[in-house]
Amino acid sequence: MGTFIDEFGTIWGAFLATLSLTVVSGALALVWGTLLAVMRVSPVGPLRTFGTGYVELVRNTPLTVMFFFWVFVAPSIGFVPPLGFWIAVIAMTLYTSSFVCEALRSGVNSVGVGQAEAARSIGLTFGQTLSQVVLPQAWRTAIPPLISVLIAHTKNTSVAAGFAYFELVASMQRLTNKHPADGIVIFFGIGLMYLVITIPLGLLAARIERKVAFAR
């Protein structure tokens, strides 16, 4: 326990690193994922194809392989992103956005067909149908899965530890090497820092779901 308190400065710094990576790449993934979802439901064929292809490809690629590409392969084809934080942001954003897209799309699909029919029958266009009628309803359904995507995203930031970004898991590695006897304490301490992020998100999801369940 003493080790955990003594080294709390390091752990806190690492926690902030994890948190900032989670927030920055999470926000970017939400934006890019929403765009992808719009592409996947849009009437324009090539956009649909692109969205589908992107999601299929990225969802079936391990995150580690995604990181590997940006760290080792991209420089050899002439694209050199700054190592550390920004590479992690790029990889995490591209990866998580495909899951965001799927969550949103399932939300859009969950809206009753009658809603869209009604909107069309009073003459709304595709854009109006989507923004005025379908999305406000889809949003509710999509939030719980979106939160579970974000929880997975939080845990996935740990992969950045293997690619030159000092966050919680990397700090565990360093601290365990420094205090080999206190490995278990350090493990639980680091685990706790993850739970600090993920458990409130989970509770939030459960809360929202109860609200949505009443609204339906």
Binding site: N60, P62, F68, S76, N109, S110, I151, K155, A161, G162
Partner: protein, 354 residues
């Protein structure tokens, strides 16, 4: 058009607009691809570096190259192959204990453990095994995969068990089986069947997570790619990356397709052997309600929405099925008010969308 609910069959103006947009965006894509190809060509990406795959280099034959990649793939599959059955067994055990336990003292500890295991990154668990327990690489990877996936499998099966009609459990208890035995021999087989697509999808997650072994220096496919590209020089990085990423994507896509396929078969009710939805009505099949008519009352079919289509009013959208739809589809169904809904709604923390 794709038959989406969001837009009508296009009229003449919309068709013109569609055509224009189609052409514009197709041209944009062609241009982007051409630009990427051109910049690759300028950087000599298409030179003889690819020859390492069929001619070998630096005294290595192509057989050596492919052999080493195959060994890497073998170690990836080995880790997944050891971890998957163990995770299924432990996850199943936890689900049975949680469902069948009579006292809170038995059911609460597994609940807390699964919650904890799902909230921690797999990589952290692997480091725990490697740095703290000092296990060998393979077993560290397996440890991380088993702990996380067992918790997720337990959660999936719990959702499946909760979705079963009450009568199943009551029937088991009324013929004198204990709660544990009821869960084990009556409910579990049905729950596994309902949740089979979710379980197979989880296999994809597990396969993807084996690549975390790269970070703790387990010599799996990704690590083999890296070692190969170090041996053959940095020019060959993109070559080995293309091959390795291709292998990963190919395997994962096949498993995803399998999940989609199984799910469709279950939904269409043609699911082959096993539980046919038992008729509970007085005699003979109850006539099916007409289009949009009242759905059958509950209890008509075991786990109805999965086993048969009898319960879903026709007016609901039958969504366009695309490959890889499984997850969204499941959630969508959940919100259309089938009995799996409740359990799936509580399933938000699995984070199984890795």
């Amino acid at each position: 058009m794709s038959g989406s609910i969001l837009y009508d069959a296009p009229g003449p103006r919309a068709k013109r607009l569609d055509r224009t947009l189609n052409i514009v965006f197709s041209l944009v894509f062609v241009a982007v691809v051409a630009w990427i190809g051109y910049s690759f060509w300028q950087r000599d990406i298409f030179n003889d570096r690819w020859a390492v795959l069929w001619e070998g280099a630096r005294g290595q034959t192509p057989a050596d190259v492919w052999g080493s990649l195959a060994r890497g793939l073998g170690r990836t599959l080995l880790a997944a192959g050891i971890a998957a059955p163990i995770a299924m067994l432990i996850g199943g055990g936890i689900a049975i204990i949680r469902r069948g336990a009579r006292s809170r003292w038995v059911s609460v500890p597994p609940t807390v453990l699964t919650e904890l295991a799902r909230g921690l990154p797999v990589l952290l668990l692997m480091f725990l095994a490697k740095l703290v327990f000092g296990w060998p690489f393979l077993w560290s990877v397996v440890f991380g995969l088993v702990v996380y996936n067992a918790a997720v499998v337990a959660e999936i099966l719990r959702a499946g068990l909760a979705a079963l009609p009450k009568g199943q459990r009551e029937a088991g208890l009324s013929i004198g089986l204990s709660t544990m035995r009821t869960t084990l021999i009556i409910e579990l087989p049905q729950a596994v069947r309902i949740m089979l697509p979710a379980l197979i999808s989880q296999l994809v997650v597990l396969l993807k997570d084996t690549s975390l072994g790269f970070i703790i220096a387990y010599e799996e496919l990704l690590r083999t790619m890296k070692l190969n590209s170090e041996f053959f020089g940095s020019e060959s990085r993109i070559v080995f990356f293309t091959v390795g990423a291709g292998i990963y994507i190919l395997i994962n896509m096949s498993v995803s397709r399998l999940a989609t396929f199984v799910e469709r078969r279950l939904r269409e009710g043609g699911g082959g052997k096993g539980i046919e939805p038992p008729e509970i009505g007085p005699a003979g099949p109850i006539p099916q309600s007409g289009v949009g008519g009242p759905a059958r009352e509950e209890g008509a079919h075991a786990g109805d929405p999965v086993f048969g289509a009898g319960r879903r009013p026709e007016s609901r959208p039958i969504p366009q099925r695309r490959p890889g739809d499984d997850e969204g589809e499941r959630r969508r169904q959940a919100y259309l008010g089938d009995p799996t809904a409740q359990s799936l709604r509580h399933n938000t923390r699995t984070g199984d969308s890795r």
